[in-house]
Amino acid sequence: MKTSGFRIFFMTGAWMVLAFLLLPILVVIPVSLTDTSYIGLPKESLSLQHYVAYFQDPRWLSATWTSIWIGLVVAVCATALGTAFAIGCWFLSNRASTIARWILITPILVPPVVQSLGFYRFWVTLGLIDTHVGVILAHTLLALPYVSISVFAALANLDPRIPQAARSLGASVWQTVRSVVLPAAMPGMVTGGIFAFIVSFDEIVGVLFITVRNVSTLPKKIWEGIQENIDPTIASVATMLVLLTLVATAVVIWRGREGAK
């Protein structure tokens, strides 16, 4: 196809939009290397002082660690519950199970502030305010929709007649689930688990409502840092997270290419 005005318009437009998506995220990198004590571009030389500040501050480190382990626990809980849920619904495939699936995705649609209000009041009566268990429970609920959606999507590729055949050959429900359905659900479980971890790792509004000072997660530290904003340590944290994401994305692209060969 020869290059036409139409094509040039769309191609340039698309790359410009992609630049708009990417560049603002990258801006934290130079800022994190600034030699000044305030937020800005490096003045005279590059400096790692704000990374040092991060690694020397027990509060940043413990917040990071808290976010990681809470994220892992949430990923496990949400994947287990969500997978069981999606498999059950897939077998049932009736009106009731569709309603159940709608109920499970409500957290995606409800505004974060509204649901956090609900959490707060209920967590007060349960005594879960400012506890790790309270955060894990809230995050698990928020992560469930993503797990159930991705597991269900993975099961769309499984022919319902296969488990039926297994059943008619005498396998029990649990045997069928374990040896036929679970392997088919696996890709969805992995995606869902990663989603669940990210949902928990990035969640901020709920944490702001249901924690006080015992529990501090990384997003909460960043939020407080932006409000206070006095030093660029937060830019170094952001850079590390962005680089981690970039590396992960690059690996996925690369593996996709390899797989395509």
Partner: protein
Amino acid sequence: MFRMSDALRYWFLVLPALAIMIVFYIWPLLGIWQISLTEPKPGVANYTEMFDSTAVQTSFILTFRIAILTTIGCLILGYIVAYVISNFARRAKPLMVALVLLPFWVSVLIRSFSWIVLLGRSGIVNDTLMATGITDSPMRLMHNEFGVVIAMIHVMLPFAVLPMMANMRGISGAYVDAARGLGAGEWTAFRQVYFPQTMPGVMSGALLVFVLSLGFYITPALLGGGRVLMISEYITYQIQEFLNWGLGSALSVALLVATAVVIAIAARFVNLRSALLERN
């Protein structure tokens, strides 16, 4: 008998997740409704206060305006990207898809922080503009609706691109080719043949972006300078500043109802099942 017990076993798989969702999520959500009718004392006082308040009305109008602007921005920019990925991109396709998805993995907080760094009075954009002599004094890019909308488009764009890409994947090139064969120009063929076929994708993208924008909190709170007071921020303001749980809950109920109404209206134009329940 045999079938019945099977169904029961499947329900055992469904129940744990469903039960904790209902007990710990849906139930507290309904509790908000109750708070709005009982605090500080029983009755509908919070609702009359809310409907009488011009500030609340203004905030609702502002919330819808920003959600609409964000949605329009996301649709235009997102369409271009989705179109190119689906029709033109060859080798660059995985890279382009990855770039669309990338912001998904970087937290909203960090992206808002980036925009603060960029748009501030002594931020990078202003510094550059002044250093290159384009302006002599800093422009106001942040602490207003402009800054909020730009940053929100950035946050929401992937939600618009993905459904449109999914939709375009299913569109056969044959119709456009046929139109071209019959002598239509590239633009005409696009406008009259291709574009109408993509409407379902556009509508589901619009729905997602709009609904998520309505309830958005982080970005407006950080970039709005307090004057771009969307409903979510108004709710936290009532509760944190005045411990006014009654009005805060009434506002939450109103926001929830507004969201539900938007979804109900959208149901006429969008296949909700594929837009929400079965998206990847």
